[in-house]
Symmetry: C2
Subunit: 186 residues, 2 copies
DNA sequence: CCTCCAATGTCAGAAACTGACATCAGCGTA
DNA sequence: TACGCTGATGTCAGTTTCTGACATTGGAGG
């Protein structure tokens, strides 16, 4: 066996979620999290840039779901079509994670510092989608505008989905919201 | 004369902007800012909740420009019309501040922590506009969707405006972007 | 002249983060 | 087998942000 239990990063993330739920984000120190995960505080900061980051997964993987779908959309698809495909694909990312997402969202909603982090992730997603549209030959400002529409629609759909008691099809919900958005802009 | 020079808050904000520009945000400590403003560190934290906040003005005043315009829109105005009126009004808020806004934006763009704060302010503006629409009798999800459209348009217009070498009419620019957004959603 | 108050100062401390260096199980290699 | 290297972790000291508690005092108002 190895010198230490493997999977420190995962244990830290789990311990953090548990403690944030039990005592709240502010009342939990990084030392607490590290102790529950069986490592030192220093190890926490080797895996996570800061205390907030422990609640957020790999952005490459997450944003990739959207950008891959945009890249994979047929050449005939309009920018908005490509974004719609991304929203549908992103719905798949959350399949089976409704309970977990609900808990995580309650933690975030209870703390302004975490909401800031969430918003900046949303901005980065928008930028990644705009970049993916550029790669399809969509110029600015259309690319950026379409990406913004997509992020707004997904965000609002996500709020509805995660707030609801029962699980549902997030991808379909996102397409609904996108349609509502088009109507609101009409 | 009074016991201390009046206007501590303003001096702190000025000192902070100067130092952030000279050395960068991270390389500037709150103690540095306080020293330049001629007060103690503790006084800084009496006026600003944290180090980032010193770059952001009173959100009530700022958001109020948007929400007042929404409230003042004629009863016949559609939700999107009311939001458009808000964007035009918000343009007035920045008249004569182009140089200052440019400097401030360079500081923010150079630091992720400040970008987070900027994004959360944007979210709060969206929520305030949605609230102002509710007060006009606009129900959700229309209110929230329209508010999102308005914030997106204003944000993108602001980026264009502040990035440009020469000053221009931000309000008009915002209405242009809103029109582009409608086209992108069509 | 007295009293109260608002703005500031002083001080101690918790918690978040960072840099530098130490440790050591297990791996590959001679 | 012995040896040396590496990667994950530990240890430790230090800086900075932010907070709570209490002290100070010039000036306004009675």
């Amino acid at each position: 066996m190895s010198r230490w239990e493997p999977g420190s990063q995962g244990r830290l993330a789990e311990a953090a979620a548990e403690l944030f739920l039990e005592r709240g984000y502010e009342a939990t120190t990084v030392a607490d999290i590290a102790a529950r995960a069986g490592v030192t505080e220093r190890t926490f900061f080797r895996y996570f840039a800061d205390k907030r980051e422990v609640l957020f997964g790999d952005p490459e993987a997450y944003n990739g779901v959207f950008t891959d779908a945009i890249a994979a959309a047929p050449a005939t698809a309009t920018p908005l079509d490509a974004v719609a495909a991304a929203l549908r694909a992103a719905g798949g990312f959350f399949v089976g994670r409704h309970p977990h997402a609900g808990i995580r969202q309650r933690i975030i909603d209870a703390n302004p510092a975490l909401q800031e982090r969430e918003q900046i992730k949303r901005l980065h997603l928008t930028e990644a989608m705009a970049e993916a549209l550029h790669a399809r030959g969509v110029p600015d400002p259309t690319a950026r505008l379409t990406a913004e529409l997509g992020t707004v629609a997904f965000h609002l759909a996500f709020v509805r989905w995660v707030t609801a008691e029962r699980d549902s099809d997030l991808g379909a919900l996102a397409l609904d919201v996108l349609a509502e958005l088009r109507a609101a802009a009409a």
